[in-house]
Structure formats: structure tokens, C-alpha cells
Symmetry: C2
Subunit: 358 residues, 2 copies
């Protein structure tokens, strides 16, 4: 690939870069203008909020470099880069996070500008090339968007663990922890969640009379509990609150064995997610797709079923597509931001060639 005399890459040497920077992992893909994915790379957390700008920048740099190496390309051939992350479109160039991201991409040899994208928009375009539609994510948090003309025009929830994220992994995990606390101190019925949560936290059984007063756990308010409850409370307050999301799978596990408390949590989560999607849904605008993502919707059938049922009830007639992450969408956005049309054929080229690389 010879650059032309102006220093611009020749048309056949113009490449595009899509990056999906998540809290758990960062994925990057280099693609040709026709949608063929040429190289894929992967690294750790690329979220500057949860991991810090330095760590996120390092992950981005490693994922992008790996994708370029796999494609056998230099960063100088990249003409557009889309980086999708939570809060993406609000990460300004002059912020610390923005500087870390731009610096990481530049260090991989990419000299052209980077466009920050909302994670929910990339999630949407991971499922469909239709410029109009909706996406719903339920991972640690939960939110839905409506997309029109290729841009987000409405958002619902995503208000975070303290104020919203109804039906998210955090929400479910907190309901699990609260249900176990209530069961252990006698406020609510026994539940199979207790044994599952104590095992997950490696709390061994203490004295059976948890009502007796003893040393207080490290709980705000400092009330006295004993045995497993005391240990449970101490260990849970030692975690950052959002880490309660890791107990969400216990709700599905217990619900599958017929536990009523867990089944109620799962049912309420599904209803909450359906409500969040319903707030941005416009079935009257036509049979536009709904794209679902995030661990709660990808890994668990029950919330998916609840959301699908609510769509039927709302008169939605479009496709419902479940996607594992936002990488295809980040790739699609990098083409769109370069002014290239992404029709069904290009979209299928992206998805099939990326699937072959992963």
C-alpha cells in the first residue's frame, strides 16, 4: 500500500477502526471500507470511570495495536476511529479521560481524529444497520435508547445504581442481598438465596442465634447482629456498592429451582426492563428493530422472555436481536462517521468477517 504524494493513504489503503471499550474488556477491530474485518484485538477494562484513565488508555492502546498487528496494517492507514463507551458522547477531548483515549489511539500510530460514541448506540448497530430502532442494555446498569436517523434521540433510565438502573445486574444483586438480610433477621421468608449468597461470600455458619447481641458489624448505624448475618453485612459493605451486581446470577439460579423469593426478584427485573424499553418505544413508527444486550439479557432467558412479551403486548412488530457486545456497532459507526453507507450487505460483511476473526 503506497501512500499518495499528499501523504494520504490511497483508497485501497484507507481503513476504519472500531473500538468497544467496556468495564470488563476492550475490543478493537480494523476494517476495510466495504466492511471486511481485517484484524481484531482485545485487552482489559477500557472504562476510564471505573478503571481510571491510565488503565483504560493502556487497554485501548493494547487492543488497537493488536488489531492492527493482526491485520498487518499501520495505524497511518486508519482514516476514521469510533470508540464506544458508557457516557461516550460526553467524553470531551480536553477531559482527562478524553486525553487518555486519544493518546492511546495516537500511540498505536493512528493520526486521524477519534469519535466518541455512546455504548447504547454501538450496541444498537451491533444488531442492525437500520438507522431507526431501539436498544436495551442490562449489564451492571440498565438503560434504553431510541435511535432515529442513526443517532440517539431518546434515553430512558441509566440513572445509576443509587437512583435507577431498574432491573439491572446491580439491581438484581442488591435485591438478592437485601432478601437474604431480611430472611436472616426474621423479616421475610427463608429463601434458597441465603445458602447461595453465603457460599459465594465464603461465609461459614456462625452461631445459629443471630438475634443475640454481640460486636456490631461494620454497618452504617452500627446495629448488632451475630453469626452469618453479621459476617455477611461486613463483607458486603466492604465491597464497592456496584459489585453487588456479581450476585445477580444467584437470583436466576434460585428461581430455576422454584424459590419464590428469587422468582419474584427475577419477575420484577423483567418487568422493570420492559418498562424502561417501553418508555422509548414507538411501535407506531414502523417495524423497527429492538437490539438487546448486557449480561442480564444475554445470559438469562427469563428477562428476555419478559421483554419480548412486553413488545408483543405493545404492538411492536420489528425484529428482536440479542448481541454479545457493541463491537460490530463500533465498526459500523466508524464507517458511517467516514461518510460510508452501511446497508444490509455491508452490515452482513462486518458481522460475518468479524465472527470469523473472534
Amino acid at each position: 500500500m503506497d501512500p499518495d504524494p499528499s501523504g494520504e493513504p490511497s483508497p485501497e489503503g484507507r481503513h476504519h477502526l472500531g473500538v468497544d471499550a467496556g468495564g470488563t474488556s476492550t475490543r478493537a477491530v480494523v476494517l476495510a471500507p466495504d466492511g471486511r474485518c481485517l484484524g481484531h484485538g482485545r485487552a482489559g477494562s477500557g472504562n476510564p470511570i471505573s478503571s481510571g484513565p491510565a488503565h483504560a488508555g493502556d487497554s485501548l492502546h493494547r487492543a488497537v495495536s493488536a488489531a492492527l498487528v493482526a491485520a498487518g496494517l499501520s495505524g497511518a492507514t486508519v482514516v476514521s476511529t469510533s470508540v464506544a463507551m458508557a457516557g461516550g458522547s460526553s467524553v470531551t477531548d480536553d477531559s482527562e479521560a478524553g486525553a487518555a483515549i486519544h493518546g492511546a489511539v495516537a500511540r498505536a500510530g493512528v493520526t486521524t481524529p477519534v469519535t466518541m460514541e455512546q455504548d447504547l448506540l454501538a450496541l444498537y448497530f451491533s444488531g442492525s444497520p437500520d438507522p431507526d430502532g431501539h436498544s436495551l442494555v442490562a449489564g451492571t446498569g440498565a438503560a434504553a435508547v431510541r435511535v432515529e436517523g442513526g443517532e440517539v434521540v431518546a434515553t430512558c433510565d441509566g440513572l445509576g445504581w443509587l437512583l435507577g438502573d431498574d432491573g439491572s445486574g446491580f439491581w438484581i444483586g442488591q435485591q438478592v442481598a437485601r432478601a437474604v438480610g431480611a430472611a436472616l433477621d426474621g423479616r421475610s421468608p427463608d429463601t434458597a438465596l441465603t445458602a447461595l449468597l453465603l457460599t459465594a461470600l465464603e461465609v461459614t455458619d456462625g452461631p445459629s442465634d443471630h438475634h443475640a447481641s454481640a460486636a456490631a458489624a461494620a454497618v452504617p448505624g452500627g446495629h448488632q447482629h451475630e453469626g452469618p448475618l453479621r459476617e455477611l453485612v461486613k463483607r458486603l459493605y466492604a465491597l464497592p456498592p456496584v459489585h453487588l451486581a456479581r450476585f445477580a446470577p444467584l437470583a436466576f439460579e434460585a428461581a430455576d429451582t422454584g424459590d419464590a423469593v428469587a422468582a419474584d426478584i427475577v419477575e420484577r427485573a423483567g418487568r422493570a426492563l420492559a418498562t424502561t424499553l417501553g418508555a422509548v418505544l414507538r411501535p407506531e413508527a414502523g417495524p423497527h428493530p429492538v437490539v438487546l444486550g448486557g449480561s442480564v439479557l444475554v445470559a438469562q432467558p427469563a428477562p428476555r422472555t419478559a421483554v419480548r412479551a412486553s413488545l408483543v403486548a405493545a404492538g411492536h412488530t420489528g425484529e428482536v436481536i440479542v448481541v454479545p457486545d457493541g463491537l460490530v456497532g463500533a465498526a459500523v459507526l466508524s464507517l458511517r462517521r467516514a461518510g460510508l453507507a452501511v446497508d444490509r450487505s455491508v452490515f452482513e460483511t462486518v458481522t460475518t468477517t468479524l465472527a470469523a476473526l473472534r
Copy 2:
């Protein structure tokens, strides 16, 4: 008052000290062995967890010194001191908090040992001298205890804002904030709480189309909202989570005007508090009193009514007493810890003479 040759205060010079160290204020009272309150003092927060050991120690020292000055007594005449606070019985002498508390009392000239007491036990003895009964507190947090033989034998809830405190000021305030968030992003019905909360936070109306994407608020997950919702979310995440308790009164205010969302929050809070008390209640043990305290139960009729109704339904036939704080109980405990019997007559001496001082 001449000390006897051993250096011990003479019987008529033996005094007792009760301290109620709360998150908002610290109150101290000096009393005679017959229950007569001789001096009262008050200072700022005495909770070492929320205010830090140094500030809490300073408050304790000032409240105790003021009480001694008001009584015209030296700290050397004090033979027993009870300090009630959240998590009280778990504050060990060798902890930083314990050292601050003991040091503060010693600096006021008190040379005899200090006994740390649970706030819920002091609350109980603020309402009744009966060695058997129950208390329920709903302030920022919420918890209930059963008292037998003058000691706490069972505790329910008090698991803190993340895991429990159902029906507490925090719980109600968080429900208010979540309901407003859901109303503003279209997930749930309009509520009078929105205007009340935006006013309380001094958020002025932004663009009416809060669905449009703009810069993200400082919310975990970083999703995009605009106008009042964006500002609301930003301001609420800037507070320590427990500060949501300050919005609890809005629920009662809106419920009083017939707002259905607020009425539902108030009703669920009352039910939660009744459940917490119910878990430690033993109506079959006799007509023992129930003592209620904390701002939610003291200031708001609705949760009190709900709790009283639940007691009737449970077959409880004892008295229900509402107390403003734990100071009478701290005084009662300082007599009890010195081996003095506190019967109905002594108890009434404490309450009437303390009321005259405050």
C-alpha cells in the same frame, strides 16, 4: 459535699451521668441517685462514625461539661456514666472511637469508668422502666430490638442503607429520588414529588425535552439525559448516599396532598417498619411496652399509625410510647449500671425533672 477520707464521694455526693450521642446532636444529663436531673448540656454530633472521633469527642466533652456546670458539680462526683450511641456496645475501649469518648469524658473531670450502650436500648428506657419490652427506631436508619431483663436479646434490621433499613428516612428519601427519576424519564407517572425535589435541590427547569441526548450527567454508567433530570442526577450523586434521608419529608408532604406515588411510598414505609418490629415482637410474653423513636416515627403520623395498627393486629396489648431521643434512657442506664433500681417512681422523677431542664 465533703469527700470521705478514702477519696470516694459521700453518698449524697454520688452522681450519675447519661449521654445520648447522636449523629445530629449530643445531649448529657447529670442526675442524683433518686433520679433527679440536676444539669443538662447539649452539643453537636457525637457519632464517631459519621463525624470522626475527634469531632465526636469534642461534642461529648462540651455536652458533659455543660451539664456539670449547669448542675454546679465537679466531674469527680460522678460514679457511673452511660454513653448511648449507634453501635454503642461494640465500641471497645481500645478503639479510636472508644479512646475519643473515654478521653472526652475524662477531660470533663469524670474519673470513673464509662459504659457504652446501644442507642436502641437507651431509646427503649426513654419510654419505659419495664425491663422487658421492645423499641423501634426510624431515623436515617431503621431497626427494632426486644429487651428482656434490661438487655437487648433480639435485633431486627439496622442493616444499613445498602442492605436494609427498610422504611427508614434513607429508604423513603431514596424512593422519592428514584420515583422522580422514573417520572422524568417517562418510566412512571407524574408525581408532585418532582417539583418538591427539584425545589429542594434548587434545580431550575431546563429544556422540556429531557429525552434529547446531551452531555452526560455524572452518573455511574454515564448515560445521557438533559435538563432537570441531568441536573438532578448530578446533584444527587454529589451527596453521600445517606444524605438522601433529607428528602424523606417530601414523601409525607406530597402524600398529604393526595399524590398517589408519594402515598404508595409512605404506605410501604409503614408496612416495612411494622414488619421489622413484628420480627422481634412477642405479644405472648405479656403486655410489655413498645417504644417508638427517630424522626420518621416522631414527626410523621402515617408510619406511627401503620405500626400501631400492626401491633393491634398482632395481639399486642402493652403501651405504645413515642420518645424524642434516648437521653432519659441513657440516664436510666447510668443508674441501672450503678446497681440502682429504676422503678416507675424513679423513672417519673427522671422524665419530669429532665423535662424541666430542657
